[in-house]
C-alpha cells in the first residue's frame, strides 16, 4: 500500500514512458570498451562541476583538477578582473604540467601573481597570456601572442564552477535545465563551512551514483544505524520517495525524513538526543531559508532531503535542516573511480553548533563506508556476467535513467563520428 501518492500512470517509472520497465543490462558498467567510449561521448562533452567560487575568493587564487576520464588536468583561477577562468594545465613550451606540487598527479591549490613553469621558467599571467620566455632570442620567430595557455570553457552557476571540453556545448544554465532552474536562489553562498572527503572506489562510477540515487537500500544496509525498535519499523515500512523528477539527462529523488528533530526522542540514539544532530544534520536551523520552488517539489510536510543528479557525475543534496552536500564521481578506469564528497554548513557561531556539525559529518562517513563497500562487491560479481539482466523497482527509476542516458550519449556520439562513406570510391 503506497504511503505517498504516485503519478496517475501507477508508478514513477511509467510516468516517464521513455525509461521502460524491463530488466536492465549492466554491460555499460563492466565493459572497458564502453568506458573508452564514455570518455569522449560523456566526459568530453558535458558540463563538469570542478569546485565552488569560495575556493578562489581573491585574484590569483587557483586550484587544479585532474580529469582522468577526459583526459586532462585543468587549472581554475580568479583573474585580475575577478572572473573565474580555466585552462588546460599544460605549458606551451614543451608540455610540462604547469601547476603542481611535489607529485605531478596530485591536485593542488594556492595563490600566485602569474604561473611559472618549473621546467624552463616560461611565465603566464592570470588571463593565460605568455608573458616571459627564458632566453627568448634563442627561439625562431617566436610570437608570444600565439603561445598563451589553452583555455577551457568555464561557467559559474550559483557559485558552482563548471568546465566543458566541448566548444559547441550549449551554455551551462540551459544544460542544467528545469532542475537547475528550480534550485536557483538557494543560499549556497552562506554555507561556507566545508568538510571534504575523498575515496578511491573499486567500481564503475555509475554504480556509486546508483547507490546514492535510491534509498530502497537504506532500511536494510543502514538498518543498524537506527535504534533497534526504529530499525525494525523502518525495515517493515520499506522506503518510498515523496517524488521523482526526470529532466533531460538529470534526475531528482525527493525524500521524507522524520529525524530532524524526531517526533519521539526514543527513536534516535542517546548521543543524537543530547547533541540534537544526526545524519540529517543539526536539528535546529541556523538561518531562515526560503526554499526555491524546485526543492521539495511535491511540497510535502514530511520532506527531509532532495538528491539532485546533474549528469554525468555531480550530485547536490539539500537537507531540510539547512545545509547541503555534494558528491562527485571521477572515473579512472572502467572499474575504478575517485569519489569526492563535501558537506557545507553555515559557519558555526559557538562550540555547540560546531559539535553538531561534527555529528553530521561523522554520520555521513559511517553511512558512506557502508555504501562504498557494497560497490566493489557488486562490481566484481557483475563482471562475472553470470547474470546480465537485473530487475529494478520503481524506487530505482533514477538508476534506469542514468544508465539509459549514458548509453544514449555513447550511441549519439558513435552515430556522429561514423566514418562517412566515401562516395567517390
Amino acid at each position: 500500500m503506497a504511503k505517498f501518492p504516485k503519478p496517475a500512470e501507477g508508478s514513477w517509472t511509467e510516468h516517464y514512458p521513455q525509461i521502460g520497465t524491463k530488466p536492465v543490462n549492466y554491460e555499460d558498467s563492466i565493459s572497458p570498451e564502453f568506458y573508452e567510449l564514455e570518455r569522449t561521448a560523456i566526459f568530453g562533452r558535458t558540463w563538469l562541476n570542478v569546485g565552488r567560487v569560495e575556493q578562489i575568493p581573491r585574484t590569483g587564487n587557483y586550484f587544479t583538477k585532474e580529469l582522468d576520464a577526459v583526459p586532462t588536468s585543468v587549472v581554475v583561477v580568479r583573474d585580475k578582473s575577478g572572473e573565474v577562468r580555466a585552462f588546460h594545465n599544460i605549458c606551451r613550451h614543451r608540455g610540462n604540467k604547469l601547476v603542481w606540487d611535489d607529485y605531478p598527479r596530485e591536485e593542488t591549490s594556492g595563490t600566485c601573481r602569474q604561473f611559472t613553469c618549473k621546467y624552463h621558467g616560461w611565465r603566464y599571467d592570470l588571463e593565460g597570456a605568455l608573458t616571459f620566455v627564458q632566453q627568448e632570442s634563442e627561439f625562431f620567430d617566436l610570437d608570444k601572442n600565439a603561445y598563451g595557455l589553452v583555455p577551457v570553457r568555464c561557467e559559474v552557476w550559483e557559485g558552482f564552477i563548471f568546465v566543458n571540453m566541448d566548444p559547441d556545448a550549449e551554455p551551462l544554465e540551459g544544460y542544467l535545465g528545469e532542475l537547475g532552474a528550480g534550485l536557483k536562489g538557494y543560499p549556497f553562498g552562506e554555507m561556507t563551512q566545508r568538510y571534504s572527503y575523498r575515496a578511491e572506489v573499486g567500481s564503475n562510477w555509475k554504480l556509486f551514483v546508483d547507490a546514492f540515487m535510491e534509498f530502497y537500500h537504506a532500511p536494510v544496509l543502514h538498518g543498524r544505524q537506527a535504534v533497534a525498535e526504529e530499525s525494525e519499523k523502518l525495515a517493515k515500512y520499506g522506503y518510498e520517495a515523496l517524488a521523482y523528477e526526470i529532466d533531460g539527462p538529470h534526475a531528482l529523488v525527493s525524500s521524507w525524513g522524520g529525524m530532524s528533530p524526531p517526533k519521539d526522542l526514543d527513536m534516535v540514539k542517546p548521543s543524537e538526543r543530547v547533541l540534537r544532530s544526526g545524519l540529517f544534520g543539526p536539528w535546529d536551523k541556523t538561518i531562515d531559508i526560503d526554499l526555491p520552488p524546485g526543492v521539495n517539489p511535491s511540497k510535502m510536510p514530511q520532506w527531509g532531503e532532495d538528491s539532485f543528479l546533474f549528469f554525468p557525475n555531480f550530485m547536490i543534496l539539500i537537507w531540510e535542516p539547512g545545509w547541503y552536500l555534494t558528491y562527485h564521481y571521477w572515473p579512472t578506469a572502467y572499474n575504478r573511480h575517485v569519489f569526492e564528497a563535501s558537506l557545507y554548513f553555515t559557519p558555526p557561531r559557538n562550540a555547540t553548533e560546531r559539535i553538531r556539525q561534527e555529528m553530521a559529518r561523522v554520520s555521513f562517513k559511517e553511512y558512506g563506508l557502508q555504501d562504498g563497500n557494497t560497490l566493489e562487491a557488486t562490481q566484481t560479481m557483475i563482471e562475472t556476467r553470470v547474470v546480465t539482466e537485473f530487475p529494478l523497482c520503481d524506487q530505482e527509476i533514477a538508476l534506469r535513467h542514468l544508465h539509459n542516458t549514458a548509453r544514449q550519449y555513447v550511441a549519439d556520439h558513435q552515430a556522429s563520428t561514423e566514418t562517412p562513406v566515401d562516395i567517390r570510391a
Partner: protein
C-alpha cells in the same frame, strides 16, 4: 597542569588518548581501541556532553584553539562523536563490512 579544564577533571583519564586533531586520526584511534576502552570513554562522556557544550559556549569559538585546555575539551567531544557509533550502533570499533573501504578527510576547517 591538567589537559582539560578543572571542571572536567572526571574526564582527565581519557584526555591523553582522545584529544586528537583531525577526523582521520580520531577514526584511526577508534579502530585501534578495544570495545571495553570505547565503552568506558562513552559511559564517562555521554552524561557530561551537555556540560561540555555549555562550558565551551562561554568562550568565543575562534579563540578556543589558542587555549589548550578548552581546545582539548573540544577535541575530546569530537572524539566522543566519532566513537559513539561503535557503542550505539555496531558493537565493534569498525563499521561492519567496511574492510576495504576508506573515506579520507581531505579538507577540514581550522575549527
Amino acid at each position: 597542569m591538567t589537559m582539560l579544564p578543572d571542571a572536567f577533571s572526571d574526564l582527565e583519564p581519557f584526555a591523553a588518548k582522545w584529544c586528537i586533531e583531525g577526523q582521520d586520526a580520531r577514526y584511526a584511534e577508534r579502530l585501534a581501541s578495544t570495545m571495553p576502552e570505547l565503552q568506558a570513554f562513552y559511559d564517562a562522556t555521554l552524561p557530561r556532553l551537555a556540560d561540555i557544550m555549555s562550558y565551551l559556549d562561554g568562550f568565543d569559538l575562534a579563540s578556543i584553539p589558542s587555549e589548550p585546555q578548552n581546545h582539548n575539551l573540544l577535541l575530546l567531544a569530537y572524539s566522543f562523536v566519532q566513537m559513539s557509533f561503535s557503542v550505539e550502533a555496531w558493537g565493534q570499533p569498525r563499521v561492519p563490512d567496511s574492510g576495504a573501504a576508506e573515506i579520507l578527510a581531505v579538507y577540514e576547517p581550522a575549527i
